[in-house]
Amino acid sequence: MNLFEKMKNIDRRYIYLVVALCIIIPLLIPFNSRTYVTDPTANLYKKIDSFAGKEDKAVLLSFSHDASTMAELFPMEVSILRHCFERNIKVFTICFSPPAAPLMAYALNVAKEDYPNLKSGVNYCNFGYKPAGLFLPIVLGMGDDVAEAVQTDADGRKIKNLEILKGIRNYDDLNLIIDFAASAAVFSWITYARVRFGANVAAGVTAVMAADNYPYLQSGQLVGMLSGLKGAAEYEKLVDVFAAYEDTEYPNGREFSPEVVKDTWVPIMSKKISYDSQGSVVQTNVDLPYKFKQARIGMNAQSIAHIMIIVFIILGNIGYFLTKKKTAEVS
């Protein structure tokens, strides 16, 4: 039995051990890696950014997943909330499944820690958990009157009395819905909020679900999409480079520019000043809290894991072809 034949019959526990090491080591010893931003992520960023400082525009975040997919979806939720908080954009959250309710509160708490001046009911509002049976009445009802359809927030307050509702009546104002899901939940928002009321819909989905959404991106029914941890890492970078960017020229963040995205990279693990392709210094906040760079650190582990899987496939195929050749020679 040659080496490849031995490897073909290797105990799967050794494979599990290699997988564990390939994922754990890059998470424990993070390193800098470049993040390339794709169009669906950039489009979503631009859409949200176009609401900056507007009294009559708001974003609705719909949480349609449970804790099992938090590794992929939580970093994108925190990044989007950070973007909204940095740019003074009104944000609402809602969920229609019980396991998503604490997750929604947790995401809000984590994101707002760095913004002590934000107030619930003024800058953001958590609509809380609504029973799945009320999904249709609420989604359709918000097309006419958000306050009437949702009635109360997570704290039991009548939302029509909240300051945040000033200027927000229906989907003309609550003009962007982002659904975070590990399922096809976003299709319901497309069917009812997009088709019937013309609301802009975007998705933040796990990587395995992303392929299903491409037809909707191409048709324009989704204005943008964050695809798995990669999408979250891209969004983290955009927020760092634009919304949370600070220097003397841009004290409150700067406008999106594709050229800047292309040329800038943010060293997440180093305190050294980095340089762009023209050799200019990139001034970014390198002392970022972990929560604002967790997707990019996770992408390191994903890089190694993908390479490992590819190596496994190649080794498995070499073993397969050698065994096949040997069998053919014997017969």
Partner: protein, 206 residues
């Protein structure tokens, strides 16, 4: 009667909702509002039913000391403790409910989901073979998409993420659109069959 009454309810309400969608009259809107208030009232009963069912199933298991009955004790205990902490102290920041979520449910759920990575790696090694030209194309597409999704792929060559994006935007999209059209037609046909009373399997066998 056991089959006819549910059938009449389904067909009658089915056509009423179709009418509501296409005829936005006052009567139709009033009917819809009436239905919404009923849905709000009905939903909590489903929760009660679910909790009762959970207690009955696991209670019986504990009572009979069925295999692995200890897990049933943990399930019921978790339900009671979590629900109690939510009712007693609320679900806001700093409450025991949110602590339980962050320190028990989150890591446990994430652990279960992350097992997928181990199975994928093992399955890729043991089963992903270039046995035919089609399988080879699939294999190559998988390599490119996997590398295109991670920073290291773009660091190797700009060509990798661009090709990965092309695979997702063109062949993947064409296949997905075909599947979506098929599913859409299938849903329309099934809905019509239910509305017309042709499809009755949802009523059960007796």
């Amino acid at each position: 009667m056991k089959r006819q009454i549910p059938l009449i309810i389904v067909i009658g309400l089915g056509f009423l909702f179709v009418a509501h969608t296409f005829i936005p009259s006052k009567t139709s809107v009033d009917f819809y509002d009436w239905w919404v208030s009923w849905s709000k009232a009905i939903s909590p009963f489903a929760v009660v039913l679910g909790i009762l069912s959970l207690f009955m199933v696991h209670g019986t298991k504990i009572q009979r000391k069925a295999p692995n009955w200890q897990y049933s004790v943990v399930t019921l205990l978790a339900l009671v403790v979590t629900a109690f902490s939510g009712f007693a102290w609320g679900t806001n920041e700093g409450t025991p409910f949110l602590w339980l979520f962050a320190n028990v449910q989150m890591p446990m759920s994430a652990t279960m989901f992350s097992l997928l990575a181990f199975y994928i790696a093992s399955a890729a090694y043991k089963a992903f073979r270039a046995k035919s030209p089609q399988a080879t194309v699939l294999l190559l597409a998988a390599f490119i998409v996997m590398m295109g999704q991670v920073p290291i792929g773009a660091a190797i060559s700009k060509w990798i993420p661009e090709t990965a994006q092309w695979i997702l935007n063109v062949p993947n999209l064409a296949a997905k659109r075909g599947i979506a059209t098929g599913v859409g037609l299938g849903m329309t046909a099934t809905s019509l069959k239910i509305l017309l009373g042709i499809e009755r399997t949802y009523l059960g066998s007796d």
